[in-house]
Symmetry: C2
Subunit: 214 residues, 2 copies
DNA sequence: CGCATAGTTGAGCTATTTCAACATCAGTGG
DNA sequence: CCACTGATGTTGAAATAGCTCAACTATGCG
């Protein structure tokens, strides 16, 4: 069950808790073109892709619209699994796949016995939510400079004044080019707001960053 | 306890469940400048702002950095409340405020008695996570056209072919100007991908939208 | 050392913004 | 019912921020 740790939601669980989950779960094998769930089915299981490839899609007027393709270990269809309501889409194995099924009811029982599991889940989700919210805030800023300011600020607020920084990755995440990121970093440095070395940025004046990311 | 419904996390709970929460919670009044929590405190309570205004801030080298100001009914500091670890920041009432405190332990007990509450929380969070993820995907696209395509597509996938659409709001959310949004909508219409009326957009060709939002 | 990867810098180009003028519509009060 | 107002959307032309392309530097790594 070690691969479960790769799934962010499970990352905080301890060995015993993972084992508890393993105890109530079943591994099922789907060959190519096998349907995993449909919109007429209720969320009675959590589905975790262990190995293989799955496509999630909707159908409208007979045509299928792919929503997403999963390959790495992932939990999918979780909104329905948590609510117990119908899945909003279809899921189909597009290659031979192994999927771990956790029964919703068993999961609820487990949460009853060990509510810490639920708390850990919620804690992971809450952190992620806050993180994503701040990402969205910076992405909807207009100027490249303010996007970058807010990007650095976010990292700064999470941890140290010294922030790991890759021009390329920042560019990708912000929807900018590496050239622009590089130039804007230069500007921030000129303004004395940051210092930069190879792959680190040191925040000198967070207040200024905050004003830039308005 | 009705105001709890305004908080997304609690929106799915039924009357009885809200009452259960009310039973274990305490309302506390903070006057201006009163500290609500500090980084040396562990998350032993959930804090819900019922009335008033609260600032959440960090201190580094004696200087305070405001992270966020809350005024409407909100749950704040939830990451720590879920984990039980230390709060990552300070919270202080900046005007006379009423705050609802839910003890973490009581909450865990409650989840044990009624695991559906936890499930409902997780379901709300899971939905929100998926939503935010798709927002981020569209925001990190480069061209205005693809951002808008993906914006419309997201709304389309959530519900009907007829999508509520406000040029102004879309512009805000996408970090574009209303003029650009208007022009791009015109283009999508020319291409026969959408039809638009005053405040609605009708998706004619979702596949084309999908390709544009690559 | 040599090669691949990451970052920097400049110059021209183009997508988007800005600004300004106009159009459309919903609601309001006369 | 009409005129008035404010909010919302549209269109054009000029200005500019950020992109592209290309050449270069710095840095790590086998």
């Amino acid at each position: 069950m070690e691969f479960l740790r790769e799934i962010p939601l499970f990352s905080e669980l301890n060995q015993k808790q993972l084992e508890e989950i393993a105890l109530i779960s079943v591994v099922k094998r789907y060959s190519k073109n096998n349907i995993i769930f449909t919109p007429s089915q209720k969320g009675e299981y959590f589905f975790i892709l262990k190995r293989g490839k799955v496509k999630v899609y909707k159908t409208s007027k007979g045509k299928e619209q792919i929503i997403r393709i999963f390959d790495k270990p992932t939990l999918f269809g979780e909104a329905a699994s948590f609510t117990g309501k119908n899945f909003p889409a279809w899921a189909e194995a597009i290659e031979e796949s192994e999927i771990v099924l956790i029964p919703r009811k068993g999961f609820i029982e487990l949460m009853k016995r060990d509510p810490e599991i639920g708390m850990k889940f919620m804690s992971v989700m809450a952190q992620r939510l806050m993180y994503l919210t701040s990402v969205i805030e910076s992405l909807s800023l207009k100027s490249a400079l303010s996007k970058i300011a807010s990007y650095i600020l976010r990292k700064f607020e999470e941890g140290r004044d010294e922030v790991e920084f890759s021009t390329n990755i920042a560019a990708m995440e912000l929807g900018l080019t590496k050239e622009t990121v590089s130039r804007m970093l230069g500007k921030l440095k000129e303004l004395g707001i940051i210092e930069k070395s190879r792959n680190k940025v040191k925040v000198k004046n967070p207040q200024a960053l905050r004003e830039l990311s308005s």
